[in-house]
């Protein structure tokens, strides 16, 4: 075998591979196939023919090399053909930029989302979520909560009364009013259960308030109550600090301010550092750096006495927060009425 002949076979192989790499369409492949394998002018065909002129002792070896090259080229072309066919663009293509056909989906109302967020945090702390009636009797809404008739604290919550009493199931007291707070659920739960108690009671409450950007006659509260031996104000602080941190998903500074509620003693209000300005003071927090989020305190012994708990043995804490107030914060809404208009342009901006 002359070096000449062998090297011309290798040259041909190299030339084919370069041409194959450059081929980008079925037409390129067809031309390439013709160029190398055509019976008449194919370059491999010509090479095979030229073997006849080689010295007899080299013909055999050259023949098998040429055959191998021919097979290699055929296989390579077939493989590329198949690959091109698989990725070929069909005639009826789709414009993927056209609007998709979206499945129907609805969202939970923002007030529900905030409320469930609060519920979830307390459930993880071992609280039972309880529900109760929205129309209440005077005992559960006022009397048992240390607010006897003519108590000045009743003025703190202007009450909506029913025109005539609505009978309650199981011959209990008939409902005479729309509950002004969820605190009545403290009484209902303690009347039916012995300590220890660890509940939250979310629900709608009603006040005779105007309907404007900052007030609404109906809003949502979440009440919390923990009763056991040796529950302290420190426990209340630890619990609410943990809640605030979870709810705002950040280490937030909190501040307790002494306050007054007839059913807790001592009473306090919890402020959290304003998220809008990180406590520096802005319009959102009326330039105080703090936002009030809830009222709380240690259960008043008179409340324990009303439900038949031993006020010497048990202590407890209670708290109540307004969901709308938290939602205003969370969504950056400045008009509370938006939560009740059910305007889809608003609701569809809320997380799915």
């Amino acid at each position: 075998m002359t070096p000449m002949a062998a090297s011309s076979i290798e040259d041909l192989s190299r030339q084919f591979r370069a041409a194959l790499d450059a081929a980008s369409s079925p037409a390129d492949l067809k031309a390439l196939r013709d160029d190398f394998l055509s019976r008449k002018q194919g370059r491999v065909t010509a090479l095979v023919k030229s073997i006849a002129t080689a010295p007899p002792e080299e013909r055999r070896a050259l023949g098998s090399m040429a055959n191998a090259l021919k097979q290699e080229i055929e296989q390579a072309l077939d493989a590329r053909d198949a690959a091109m066919l698989a990725t070929a663009r069909p005639k009826d293509t789709v414009d993927v930029s056209l609007p998709a056909r979206r499945p129907w989906v609805g969202r939970r109302h923002p007030l529900t989302q905030v409320r469930e967020r609060v519920e979830d945090i307390f459930m993880a702390m071992g609280y039972q979520v309880v529900a109760g009636p929205e129309i209440e009797d005077d005992w559960h809404n006022f009397e048992a909560l240390n607010m006897p008739a003519a108590h000045p604290a009743r003025d703190m919550q202007d009450t909506l009364y029913l025109s005539s009493p609505v009978p309650a199931p199981d011959n209990a007291r008939a409902a005479t009013l729309l509950r002004t707070h969820t605190s009545g659920m403290q009484i209902r739960h303690m009347e039916a259960h012995d300590p220890p108690v660890r509940i939250i009671a979310p629900g709608r409450v009603y006040r005779r308030d105007n309907f404007d950007a900052t007030h609404t006659p109906m809003f949502t509260q979440v009440e919390g109550l923990v009763v056991d031996e040796n529950i302290s104000l420190g426990d209340l602080k630890g619990t609410l600090n943990a809640f605030a941190e979870e709810f705002f998903d950040a280490k937030v500074a909190t501040r307790f301010r002494p306050s007054f509620f007839p059913y807790t003693e001592p009473s306090a209000e919890l402020d959290v550092e304003c998220q809008g300005c990180s406590g520096r003071g802005c319009g959102l927090c009326k330039h105080t750096g703090w936002i009030e989020i809830l009222g709380c305190g240690m259960v008043h012994p008179a409340v324990f006495e009303a439900v038949g708990y031993d006020a010497n043995r048990y202590t407890g804490f209670a708290f109540g927060m307004g969901i709308e107030r938290l939602a205003l914060r969370l969504y950056g809404v400045d008009d509370i009425r938006m939560f009740y208009e059910n305007d889809l342009r608003f609701l569809e901006q809320i997380a799915l």
Partner: protein, 684 residues
């Protein structure tokens, strides 16, 4: 309560280094929110339990305790000069008679006066606190009201019949023109101050115009009394008359301040040269009670606060606030000052200590969980599941008001008598409690529609009300297009979309439901409304209604004509069923099923449910499913008939069915349909 800091400083040794803002912050920190600061004047919000702080003295006491400095209770103050010579006794030129126990104390002094303007410093203080100066006599009473929280009233003795004072109940229909020149008609529940002839003041609320101090007045009778809080509150409320005096009496004035205030007022009159006392001070105090003493246990203090306040601080705080504290071993006996009407038991004392020790100093701890937590109420979990299910099904949750307009509620009520109405509604829009979820949802839908949002699918779960009580329901309204996409024409939602929501809910609660035409839903288009029944062990309960709302109703709520609204409502109490999450599954079939399609002509009025019933009754147990896949009327079908196409699926649990037995079953079905309903196979 507006309090000038300069005035507070007169009563307490507040540090000179503490500015107005520091003092505001310190007092806010012990429970008196600051509503505003203007120059030297701090406006504090006073909670309903602290009438003693409706006074500069009370606020000075709180500030002194907060700064741990001498305050009104610890500073040694000389008695006013006038008090030294004053004799307190029953005799007076103007006799006082108390005829009602609603008046707990009544002190009266006479003074000869020269009525004129007050000195500027006094007038300025009143103005700073929001009270208009009138004349030196009236201004002195208002000054004492602000400083001590003790309301007083000056009568012109020359204009008192008798002259005498009788504290009695008003006579029904008795009238009195008050200082604000309003003629008031009184009733027998109201306590009045009367002279020998008629009422001259409404006790604790406002004086009368006829006996008012004027420029011509030369002798006054100065009243300083204590009235029962509830009666002042009731009278003030009934007359719609809120005054500075009533605000203090109705929360509870200081029984001891009645005479102390009077003495100080007389002293001030003399100091400003407005007049001087004549004769003795009358003090009617029918039943003076002993001061309240409460035992404060160290163990209870520590337990409730979760912190150990040192003995010295407990003593300091309580003493500075005016309590008289006697240590007893590790505990304390605490005598409550007369002005602290809110302190009745040990917890109240613990609050006093906690508030001035600082709630923020108490270390945060976490309560121990001693028993296994309980899972949420079934109703709460049920509502959560419903919300997730319906949101997943493409409905948006709405939150609508519980109270609605009467006209909106009425079509959905069982009758006007079953509506729960509000006695004192804010407006007609919030007059009755919703009898159904639908009126609120319909209004929400209409709200969106009026804002050009046509495709609306809303739901809400919550309480509905009737005179039978409160129930939990879920309601939904659908309107607009089912699907909007450029690739196909829009299709409007119809009754079957609303029915599907009901099926989905029933399914989620593991109950099987069926629909029947309803005739008792006047808010729906007749013939396009279904009752939803759940079969529960033989008994059948109606759990809801699904229908197309009457066009007259939708247009009354502001929807344009031609807009179809379909709606449904389920009673959640009736859906208790089984918890679908706990249902066992049936094993999967191991043998192939055989399907046969059947097209039959039936009377147009024959319900599909009846056809299905006949099929099931006449088929062997191997018939596992019957499903309509076409319903057609038109060309080729007689006008009073429809063509109904059904797909029957047969399957046996244990073996593969043969063509022959399936064929036999189908023939039996066809025969039964023909016999029962006179149906014919289409195309035969």
């Amino acid at each position: 309560m507006k309090a000038p800091v300069s005035w507070m400083r007169e009563l307490a040794d507040l540090p000179a280094s503490a500015g107005v803002n520091d003092i505001a912050a310190a007092v806010a920190g012990v429970g008196f929110e600051v509503a505003g600061i203007e120059g030297d004047v701090i406006d504090f919000e006073i909670t309903a339990n602290r009438p003693d702080c409706l006074s500069v003295r009370g606020l000075a006491r709180e500030a002194a305790t907060a700064f741990a400095v001498q305050g009104p209770e610890s500073r040694v103050q000389g008695l006013p000069a006038v008090a030294r010579g004053a004799k307190v006794g029953p005799e007076s030129e103007v006799p006082v008679t108390i005829e009602s126990e609603l008046c707990g104390r009544y002190a009266l002094a006479l003074a000869d006066v020269t009525v004129g303007p007050s000195p500027a410093w006094l007038a300025d203080r009143l103005t700073a606190c929001g009270i208009r100066p009138i004349n030196n006599v009236v201004d002195v009473t208002n000054y004492m009201l602000l400083e001590m929280g003790q309301p007083m009233h000056a009568f012109d003795v020359a204009r008192l019949a008798g002259p005498e004072i009788r504290v009695r109940m008003a006579r029904a229909g008795e009238t009195l023109t008050t200082l604000d020149r309003q003629a008031r008609t009184l009733d027998a529940s109201m306590l009045v101050i009367a002279d020998g002839a008629r009422a001259v003041a409404i006790a604790g609320v406002m004086g009368g115009a006829a006996s008012e101090v004027s420029a011509a007045t030369t002798r006054i009778a100065l009243e300083s009394a204590w009235f029962q809080p509830a009666t002042v509150r009731a009278t003030s409320k009934r007359l719609g008359l809120k005054t500075e005096a009533a605000a203090r009496f109705e929360r509870g004035a200081d029984l001891e301040a009645a005479t102390a205030g009077l003495v100080c007022a007389l002293d001030l009159l003399e100091r400003i040269g407005a007049g001087h006392r004549v004769g003795r001070i009358t003090d009617r105090f029918p039943s003076p009670g002993a001061a309240r003493t409460i035992t404060l246990l160290r163990a209870h203090l520590d337990r409730l606060l979760g912190d150990q306040v040192p003995d010295a601080d407990v003593m300091r705080i309580l003493t500075s606030l005016g309590f008289v504290v006697t240590p007893a071993h590790t505990d304390w006996h605490v005598r409550v000052p007369s002005w602290r009407v809110d302190v009745a038991r040990e917890a109240d004392l613990i609050e006093e200590v906690g508030r001035h020790w600082g709630v923020n100093r108490v270390p945060a701890t976490f309560p121990a969980l001693r028993t296994a937590p309980h899972r949420a109420d079934a109703g709460v979990l049920r509502a959560r599941r419903i919300r997730r299910l319906l949101c997943g099904a493409g409905l948006q949750e709405a939150v609508t008001f519980t109270f609605i307009e009467h006209v909106a509620a009425e079509p959905f009520a069982g009758g006007p008598a079953s509506l729960v109405t509000i006695a004192n509604p804010l407006s007609e829009k919030f007059a009755v409690l919703r009898p159904s979820m639908l009126p609120g949802l319909l209004d929400a839908l209409s709200y969106n529609r009026r804002r050009d949002i046509a495709d609306v699918r809303l739901f809400e779960a919550g309480s509905v009300f009737s005179m039978q009580g409160e129930r939990q329901r879920v309601g939904w309204v659908l309107s607009g297009s089912r699907l909007v996409h450029w690739s196909q024409p829009a299709a409007e939602v119809d009754l079957f979309d609303a029915l599907g929501v009901a099926e989905l809910l029933a399914d989620a609660f593991g109950v099987t439901c069926r629909f029947e035409p309803a005739a008792d839903a006047p808010w729906c288009v007749p013939g396009r409304v279904a009752s939803l029944f759940v079969d529960d062990g033989g008994a059948s309960r109606r759990v809801g209604i699904v229908g197309q709302l009457l066009p007259s109703l939708t247009s009354a709520r502001g929807l344009p004509a031609g807009v179809t609204v379909v709606a449904g409502e389920l009673d959640l109490h009736e859906l208790h069923g089984t918890d679908a999450a706990l249902q066992r599954v049936t094993p999967l079939p191991r043998h192939p099923s055989v399907q046969r399609d059947l097209s039959i002509l039936i009377d147009a009025g024959l319900p599909a449910a009846a056809v299905r019933g006949t099929i099931r009754a006449s088929a062997p147990a191997t018939l596992v499913d019957v499903r309509e896949f076409d319903r057609y009327h038109g060309t080729g079908v007689p006008t009073d008939q429809v063509s109904l196409s059904l797909r029957l699926t047969f399957r046996d649990r244990d073996r593969t069915l043969t063509d022959v037995e399936v064929q036999q079953a189908v023939e039996a079905i066809i025969e039964a349909l023909a016999r029962t309903h006179g149906t014919t196979l289409r195309g035969n």
